[in-house]
Every structure is written in C-alpha cells, then in structure tokens.
C-alpha cells in the first residue's frame, strides 16, 4: 500500500483549483523532491497530504486514510513544515516545542532532545521566539517536527532561511527519517541540494504532475530518466 495515493485529485483554494487533477503514488521509505514554478501547487499538494486541504474530487489516500472521508486521523501521523512557523510568538523555544510535543502525546524530554538535535543554542532556549532570527525560528519549527516523530514528513522549502549548518541538519533529518522507515516529501527550489537527499523528482505545473523521474544513485550524474507518468509532454 502506497503511503500517498492520489488519483485525479482536485483541490480548491476558495474558487481557485490549486490542484487540477493530480495523480501520484509515493511508496514507504521514499524521499521525493517536488519541484515546479511558483504557484504550481506544491504547497497545496503538501497541505492536501497533511489533511489540511480537502480534496474536492478524485481519490486521495494518505497513510491508509481516505481523505475524502476522514481528514483528521492522518494529521496525527504527519509532520508538516510550512511557510508559517506554527509557533506562538510569546512563548519560548522550549515552551513552543514542549506544547506541540505534548499535544502529540510526547513528553518534555522528547522536546529537549529535539531542541538538541536541531543544535539550537541553549542560551536561546528560554527566549520568546518573537525575538529570534528567522533561521532560529525555522529550527524551532523543525524541532517541533522532530518531537512529533511523524510517519510522513511534508517539508515546504525546508532550507529557506537557514545557514549552512542548518541546511546540513535538515539533510541529516531527512536521511534519518528515511532510514527509520518514514516517508518524506520535500518541496524545494534548491534542486542541487535537495537532489542529494531525494530519490525521485516530481515536477508540478498548473496544479498537475507533469513529470516524475527517479534519481538513480541520487547525487551521481546520470542522463535523463524515463518518465513514469503525467500527461504527454510532447
């Protein structure tokens, strides 16, 4: 059973069809790179998989939950890094991570461990996140994700706003997640970097999947791979 199974999925933002008929299958343990121009529907696809955006039509099954019927169950099992930080400005790094970890049934100890994993400076631990830099807030959001231990990671531009060390941590997180049997979807414009962690590239444009190529040997230089789906490009 695929972790993500989408057939002709349409999803609307108001009246706008952000997804206009997506077909996609992602197997367990895959790390998939989503690329495409701005407004292509990458973020909407991630939100759909997270159970935040309702499929208006088509078949959408994520982690075994039919999103057309039940979008609530899937949310416990996914971890989403969005453009928004999902943090409360007035709470400290520790309080934020601890709150979301405990909401997901975790413990303060797991929150501590997640903060350590993201290598957030211990001096920043008790400072309200509103006073942190963008990069530090990003790390805090990632710590929340780590503390939740999701089965499906949905990362929207995870490298944005991070310094070199932070980017390396993100890559390490993705590899660890895949090694632990989780599945990862990464939407990114930073193809060079993301290609080193992804095993497959999916191209989205105009709300549909237009190309789907494996990356054999990941970062090894290879020729164009055969297409696996999407409408006829020619």
């Amino acid at each position: 059973m695929s972790v993500v199974h989408l057939r002709a999925v349409v999803a609307l933002l108001g009246r706008f069809p952000a997804l206009a008929g997506v077909d996609l299958d992602v197997e367990s343990g895959e790390a998939v790179l989503l690329q495409g121009p701005n407004g292509a529907g990458k973020t909407s696809l991630l939100r759909l998989c997270a159970g935040l955006l309702a499929p208006a039509s088509g078949e959408a099954v994520v982690l075994g939950h039919d999103l057309g019927r039940d979008r609530r169950s899937v949310r416990r099992e996914v971890g989403m890094l969005a453009h928004a930080t999902f943090l409360y400005d007035d709470l400290s790094v520790y309080e934020n991570v601890c709150f979301w970890a405990r909401a997901a049934g975790g413990s303060p100890a797991e929150a501590e461990a997640a903060i350590a994993r993201l290598e957030i400076d211990t001096r920043l631990r008790d400072i309200p996140v509103v006073r942190l830099s963008t990069g530090q807030r990003r790390r805090t959001s990632l710590a929340v994700l780590v503390a939740r231990r999701p089965r499906l990671w949905l990362l929207d531009e995870p490298h944005a706003g991070l310094d070199q060390a932070g980017r390396d941590i993100v890559d390490g997180l993705v590899r660890d997640a895949v090694d632990a049997g989780a599945t990862v979807l990464v939407a990114s414009h930073e193809l060079d970097r993301t290609r080193t962690i992804a095993s497959r590239v999916i191209t989205i444009a105009g709300g549909v999947v237009v190309a789907d190529q494996p990356i054999p040997g990941r970062s090894m230089p290879v020729g164009p791979a055969p297409e696996r789906g999407g409408p006829d490009v020619a």
């Binding site: 609307l12 008929g21 292509a40 208006a56 290609r195 191209t203 105009g206 709300g207 237009v210 020729g223």
Partner: protein, 260 residues
C-alpha cells in the same frame, strides 16, 4: 420542457401558486376590510393583525426551515439542503421585518408609542431579526461552497436554539406584557368567526407566498452555484492549459538537474 426553453426561475408550479396568491390577496383584502367587523377591543386596528400575525408566523416557520436545513446539511453534506436553508433565511428576514414594522405601527395608536419595551414579542422579534441578519452576513462571506455551508449551518442552528431562550428571557424581563395574551383562544369567543377566518386565511395565503418565494429563491441560489461551478470548470481548464505551457520549462529544469 427542455432546458433551452427555460428562461426564468418560473415554472408551471410557480405560475399556479402565483395565480392562486393573486386571487387570494384580493379575497384577503375583501375579507379584512369589507366582510369582517371591527374588534370589540381593538376596533378597526384588528385589521392590521390580518397581515401582522401571518408575517410573524411565517418568519418563525422560515427560521425553523433554516435550522432544519442546517441540520440536514451537516448530516447529509448535501448542498441542496444548504441552499434551502439560505433561501428560507432570507425570506424569513423579510417576513420578520414586516412583522416588526406592522407590529410597531399597530402599537402607535394602541400604546401611544411605536416601540414598547415591555412587550415581549416585539422585543423578541427584533433580537431574532438581528440574529438572522448575522446569519445572512455569514453566508455572504466568500468561501468555497462547503465552507460557507458549514459555517451557515452552525450559525443557523445556534440562532434557532436561541429562539426559545430569547423568548423566555424577554418574557420574564418584561414583567407584564401589553400584547393580547391570547389573540386566539381555541374554542373561545374572543374573536368572532369571520375574524378568526381572516387570520387563518392570511396564514394560508402567506404560506403560499412563502412557497412561491422559496421556489424562486432556491432556484436563484442554485443558478448561482451553477455559475460558480462552471466558472470552476473553466478555471480548471485554464489551470491545465497553464500546466502544459509550463511543461517545457519545467521539464527543462528537471533535465538540467538530472545532468548535474
């Protein structure tokens, strides 16, 4: 009738109801002004009751339909019920406003004032009107159809739950009521037969008017949905066109990436 011949929200059904209503209005005017006599207490002012009471009853009935439509929507998730709820609320607001206006016009010669705070029904009706104006405001907020329907359903149900509470609290609040405690006593003799008949005839007539309006208003709402929906089809087609025009560029990106 084939769809192409349909040029309005009217149909044989509405035309039949409409004709009956027109005849009914003539009959109701004659009944109210010519055939029935002034009331012993209220004098000629009782003639206002023949439109005031049906308006108020229809307002309550329309709001009940709205709440029922909301419940059915949440149960069946069918837009059909949501459109019924919305159509009924709008018509209910019209009748509710009419009930308030006619009530206060009746109040001026009766109480010497257009507005009597100690009168339970008039105050209750005003709160009700405000509740449903809020409901219509929620419906007008742009959203996708099911978002709007869910919000509207919840607001419509709360408003309906509020009707008895508001009624009860205002009843207590206005220690005494100036309203005729029982305008109609079943089997009583307060109103003579023809006056009672005029009230009931008004009720039937207004119910028919409500039915006629409901059919038209529902069809308008339904057509609105059609326009949105086919606008949506066009939008999806546009989006797909966008994807094919983007394909060359997007796939070009992929290949460059793959060649690294």
């Amino acid at each position: 009738m084939s769809p192409a011949e349909v040029t309005s929200t009217g149909s044989r059904g509405t035309r039949v109801i409409g004709s009956i209503v027109l005849a009914g209005i003539v009959f109701h005017v004659l009944l109210s002004f010519v055939w029935s006599d002034p009331d012993a207490d209220q004098g000629d002012l009782v003639r206002i009751m023949y439109v005031h009471v049906p308006s108020a009853w229809l307002a309550y009935m329309a709001f009940t339909v709205t709440a029922f439509g909301g419940v059915m929507y949440l149960w069946k998730r069918s837009l059909w019920w949501d459109l019924v709820a919305g159509a009924s609320a709008e018509i209910g607001v019209v009748f509710c406003a009419l009930a308030l206006v006619t009530g206060s016009i009746w109040g001026r010669p009766t109480w010497g004032t257009y507005w009597e705070w100690t009168d339970v029904r008039i105050v209750t009706t005003l709160v009700l009107l405000l509740l449903y104006i809020g409901y219509l405001a929620v419906r007008r907020i742009p959203a996708d159809p099911h978002q709007r329907s869910r919000r509207a359903a919840v607001v419509g149900i709360i408003a309906a739950l509020n009707i008895p509470i508001v009624r009860f609290s205002v009843d207590w609040w206005a220690d005494r009521t100036l309203h005729q405690k029982a305008t109609i006593k079943l089997g009583g003799t307060e109103l003579d037969g023809l006056m009672l008949f005029a009230l009931f005839f008004g009720l039937i007539l207004f119910t028919l008017i409500y039915a006629w309006m409901m059919i038209h208003r529902f069809r308008i709402a339904w057509l609105d949905e059609q326009i949105d929906r086919h606008g949506l089809d066009a939008a999806i087609a546009e989006r797909l066109a966008e994807s094919t025009s983007d394909v060359t560029r997007a796939v070009g990106l992929t290949k460059t990436g793959a060649d690294l």
